[in-house]
């Protein structure tokens, strides 16, 4: 079985089959680039992901392994379809996978899924964060995500006025 070594930003390495790794758009491109530039066709590709730490990379690989037989969703798929997939495709395993996670970890997982181009994982994690934001007031979101307002003077009022126009018919 052809393997690829994926190394996290903090130096932890994961040996993954190339078939599994290629379910990530980013890893697929990296493996193909390595093959083109390498003289030795048997050489094991080594990919360093400098923006993802081991804990998060492990979760992405764990999700990929669980979903290795699912059809691959194209990264540039229309968002309209993507949202539908997120709702329909979320299995009990996915819910159990995300349930114990702290919101900060989920957010890091979203950025990792986005960077590694894992559409299915991006869909379910974005959906989870969306559910934490939708229907909440500005102050509630600020509290949940520990955000501070840095608007000066009447900037906040100005933004509110701009918003009024955004979807006015």
């Amino acid at each position: 079985m052809a393997l690829v070594r994926v190394i996290s930003s903090d130096g932890a390495a994961f040996l993954v089959s190339q078939r599994l790794a290629k379910r990530s758009g980013k890893l697929k491109t990296e493996i193909e680039t390595f093959r083109k530039s390498s003289d030795n066709s048997e050489a094991q590709p080594e990919i360093r992901i400098v923006t993802i730490r081991a804990e998060i990379l492990r979760l992405v690989l764990q999700w990929l392994q669980q979903h290795q037989n699912d059809p691959v969703l194209p990264a540039n798929q229309n968002e309209q379809d993507g949202r539908g997939d997120a709702e329909m495709g979320q299995s009990q395993w996915d819910r159990d996978f995300l349930a114990p996670m702290d919101l900060g970890i989920v957010m890091e997982l979203i950025l990792a899924a986005n960077h590694l181009e894992v559409k299915g994982l991006l869909d379910i994690t974005c959906k989870l964060v969306e559910s934490k934001i939708t229907g909440r007031t500005v102050d509630e979101i600020r509290t949940a995500f520990k955000l501070k307002s840095d608007f000066k003077g009447n900037e906040e009022e100005q933004t509110r006025l701009e918003n009024r126009w955004c979807v006015e018919n």
Partner: protein
């Protein structure tokens, strides 16, 4: 049937943690597996940035105050020590980055409008990721400016009313079209 055993990840040499155990997943026939490489298998390890230069953590915390969100995310991923320093701010740092990268198609227009009011970073991230919102706002700004000009320069009230009516009708039609585009993106 899958049998799964997940241990703590192999630590980087610089963290000086003991043990390891690795990450191991045993799976059934035909299933691909993920193994964490055992320590000492010639895995290149990044040097800890906390070693040089030697600065006190509170000095690093002050330096981080000046960094934009993109660089703060790099800092979070650089080493456990820096990550710990930014732990309290982690959610807010990640949140604006999420809005920039993933808001399109996942958040409704109403939610985006609420998020634009959170702070400047969030507002900029949403406008960057959703150019249509930005375009509508620019049209509205132009319209407000034109209304001021018309009111200042056209004295005849009836003519002013007619000009404003025509202008509003034209701009409203454009704004409606753009709003429709946004709604389609968001469905």
């Amino acid at each position: 049937m899958m049998e799964e055993e997940v241990g703590s990840p192999i630590p980087a040499k610089r963290t000086k943690l003991s043990g390891g155990g690795g990450f191991k997943i045993q799976s059934g026939k035909g299933e691909d597996q993920v193994f964490e490489v055992k320590q000492g298998q010639n895995v290149p390890v990044l040097e800890s940035p906390t070693m040089e230069p030697m600065l006190l953590p509170e000095i690093w915390a002050q330096i981080f105050e000046y960094l934009p969100p993109d660089d703060l995310i790099t800092v979070i991923n650089t080493c456990p020590e820096w990550r710990k320093l930014l732990e309290a701010k982690r959610k807010s740092i990640l949140f604006s980055k999420l809005l920039e990268n993933c808001s399109r198609g996942y958040l409704s227009i109403e939610t985006l409008k609420v998020c634009r009011q959170l702070n400047k970073t969030c507002k900029e991230a949403i406008d960057l990721a959703n150019p249509v919102i930005h375009l509508i706002i620019r049209i509205q700004e132009g319209m407000a400016r034109d209304i001021r000009d018309i009111e200042a320069n056209i004295q005849d009230l009836e003519v002013r009313r007619r000009v404003l009516y025509c202008m509003r009708r034209k701009r409203s039609s454009l704004i409606k079209k753009l709003s429709l585009i946004m709604s389609k993106q968001d469905m």
